[in-house]
């Protein structure tokens, strides 16, 4: 493999048979640019209409709201760049929290044991999603929709069997709670603003994902399997391993979000999380991820999640009817999709 053939270097000659390249509008084609423009627009809007929106504490609240969506959205964006979907993410967050708390509670074990078991379960779910998609060739939309329904049922039924209730037991006095809370749900008060550790984790995950996407071999492979899986396989990319790995990454991040949820509130409702999967996907799409795969960025998805945070909080600060939130969501999704469509047209293959 390392042997390469040095072909006799001939002076480069301009070949008049080949057409001149139109320099691609590279700046505009950057996936996150549309989202950034949108974010600035939304920020200015709420800054103008809502006085409380301008404070530092409001920013901290927005960032926290952004992080709860943004952490799973990092994984969802990577998966979407890799050409697949996961609809089970919303309920998987709840499942992770339920497994961790109920496992430890039932066995009166240290919470860290439950946390580890929960991670293991999450990774297995991700692996199963990926394996089924690879093995059967059934679109991930369907496979993970089935997983979504099954997890939703399990969340409700198993919680009911174990606790006789719709919520997990309160774990705040259990062994390991304090140390786990420091990792997953620590809060600091800085100048009146309430900074949460999940915001820092979010930034770290986004930075890590960006580095992986743009500067590592795995990142190259993620773009390739999403852009043209068959071609990627032809040049030696382990397509199946990359895809399964992506599903497992999503699961790991939903697990993390579940832990954040659990250690912020000490207890979770078994019916929670339904519908959030769409919010993660929409954040990724607003951030410039193509639904068809092969294009997108983690930073874009983060900006998408930040727009969410701003909109949910901004509407409250502005004293508007929260019903407007859904309208905003729809309008932004439409705008983002149109922009993506345009990007796609710019780089369409001309066979």
């Amino acid at each position: 493999m390392s042997d390469t053939l040095d072909v006799g270097v001939r002076p480069p000659t301009r070949d008049e048979r080949l057409t001149e390249q139109s320099l691609p509008a590279r700046i505009l084609v950057r996936p996150e640019v549309g989202a950034l423009v949108g974010a600035i627009g939304v920020y200015i809007l709420f800054f103008a209409v809502a006085e409380p929106f301008r404070g530092l504490d409001a920013l901290a609240t927005i960032l926290y709201a952004g992080s709860t969506l943004g952490i799973p959205a990092v994984g969802v964006a990577l998966l979407m760049i890799g050409g697949e979907f996961d609809l089970s993410t919303g309920v998987a967050v709840t499942s992770s929290a339920l497994v961790a708390s109920m496992f430890s509670f039932q066995l009166t074990a240290n919470l860290w044991v439950g946390i580890a078991v929960s991670l293991l379960v999450a990774l297995c779910i991700g692996w199963l999603n990926g394996y089924l998609v690879i093995r059967t060739g059934i679109p991930s939309f369907l496979v993970t929709l089935a997983m979504f329904l099954m997890l939703q049922g399990l969340n409700l039924a198993v919680t009911k069997i174990i606790t006789g209730n719709v919520a997990s037991p309160n774990i705040s006095d259990m062994e390991g709670f304090d140390s786990a809370r420091k990792i997953f749900a620590q809060e600091w008060s800085i100048g009146g603003a309430n900074l949460r550790i999940s915001v820092l984790w979010w930034l770290l995950f986004v930075a890590l994902a960006t580095w992986v996407l743009l500067r590592t071999r795995i990142g190259n492979w993620i773009f390739a399997v999403g852009g043209a899986a068959h071609s990627a396989r032809g040049v030696g990319v382990p397509v199946n391993r990359v895809k399964i790995g992506l599903f497992m990454t999503v699961s790991a991040l939903t697990w993390f979000t579940g832990m954040n949820l659990l250690f912020s509130f000490n207890s979770v409702q078994s019916g929670e999380g339904v519908g959030n999967e769409f919010l993660y996907i929409i954040a990724a799409v607003i951030g410039g991820c193509l639904l068809t795969g092969g294009h997108g960025s983690a930073v874009g998805a983060a900006i998408g999640a930040f727009i969410f945070g701003m909109t949910t909080q901004g509407i409250v600060y502005a004293g508007w009817n929260p019903d407007w939130f859904k309208f905003f969501l729809g309008a932004m999704l439409l705008a983002a999709t149109l922009l993506n469509l345009w990007v796609r047209r710019r780089t369409e293959v001309t066979e």
């Binding site: 270097v9 070949d15 590592t216 190259n220 492979w221 071609s231 032809g234 294009h295």
Partner: protein, 297 residues
């Protein structure tokens, strides 16, 4: 260059015997023999749907054969993926080129064989090296790209073809497989590609060259496999066959006697004209293409 067995014959880099491939109930290929030796060009010819691409997909690890044997340097193999074939030094230019349209040219060039620097978790892509190499390798092929960062989907069909070929030449350590590399190209670029094949051969690579066009195959080929409807209808070394026979075989042999006859007549007419120098090349075998190459330089 190549290993020599006790009997003095060279072990081919690749040898297929009685290879067959089924797609469900469709028999795409059956009973095909093929050898590829170091420093030789093996041409595979045949009409559309004859099974040429199927054959090279077996060689390149994309598919597995259903019957027969496939040996690499005398050792029976069954590749699970193109990665395995690449690791044995077998590089392929697929008919559909196997490029990812939305990815930059340089990322496509190194896809699956990325150059990295740094260790362990800090191992990262050597972006500068890959950009420079892509630019210089393409320049060596006569393609002057303005920007190796543009998505490969924005290149013209011919340019994309050249990128795919340059990539395979760069990574093909022992065997280079080209599935109709000249099909999308103009006369001039096709000439460049043929010269590349000759160069690769001169450097001791085994080349498998698939084409529709006997006029591209004959001057540079050492062996010719002619496929028709999934079967081999002729496997000849250069000294056993003339350009005219090759052309007529390609047209379907005995099945299309009438057409074959017409073509023979046309070929004879052509032979009386301009084709006589290459006829001479045909009989002197391997030295002729080298001479052609010198001319080309």
């Amino acid at each position: 260059m190549s290993d020599t067995t006790a009997t003095g014959t060279r072990t081919p880099l690749l040898r297929l015997t009685g290879c067959a491939k089924h797609y469900g109930n469709i028999i795409a290929l059956t009973g095909v023999d093929l050898e590829v030796c170091a420093g030789e060009v093996t041409c595979v010819l045949g009409d559309n749907g004859a099974g040429k691409s199927t054959l090279i997909k077996i060689i390149s690890g994309m598919h597995q054969h259903d019957a027969g044997t496939y040996e690499v340097e005398g050792e029976p193999v069954r590749f699970a993926s193109p990665r395995d074939a690449l690791d044995r030094g077998i590089a392929t230019v697929y008919q559909d080129l196997a490029v990812v349209p939305l990815m930059p040219v340089w990322r496509n060039f190194f896809l699956g064989s990325e150059k990295r620097k740094g260790f362990g978790p800090f191992s990262r892509l050597d972006v500068d090296l890959m950009r420079r190499t892509t630019k210089s390798e393409l320049a060596a092929m006569g393609i002057d790209l303005r920007d190796v960062d543009q998505p490969i989907g924005t290149l013209s069909g011919g340019e994309r073809q050249c990128v795919a070929i340059a990539r395979a030449v760069y990574f093909g350590a022992k065997v280079l497989i080209l599935d109709e590399p000249t099909a999308a190209l103009g006369v001039k670029q096709a000439g460049v590609v043929l010269r590349y094949i000759v160069q690769a051969r001169e450097r001791g690579l085994g080349v498998v060259f698939i084409t529709h066009n006997p006029h591209h195959a004959y001057p540079i080929g050492d062996r010719f496999l002619i496929l028709n409807r999934g079967r081999s209808i002729g496997y000849h070394t250069k000294d056993e066959i003339t350009r005219e026979e090759l052309t007529s075989l390609m047209a379907g042999g005995a099945e299309l006697e009438q057409l074959s006859h017409e073509l023979e007549q046309a070929a004879t007419a052509a032979a009386n004209g301009a084709a006589s120098p290459s006829d001479a090349a045909g009989t002197t075998g391997r030295t002729a293409p080298a001479a052609e190459k010198e001319e080309a330089k």
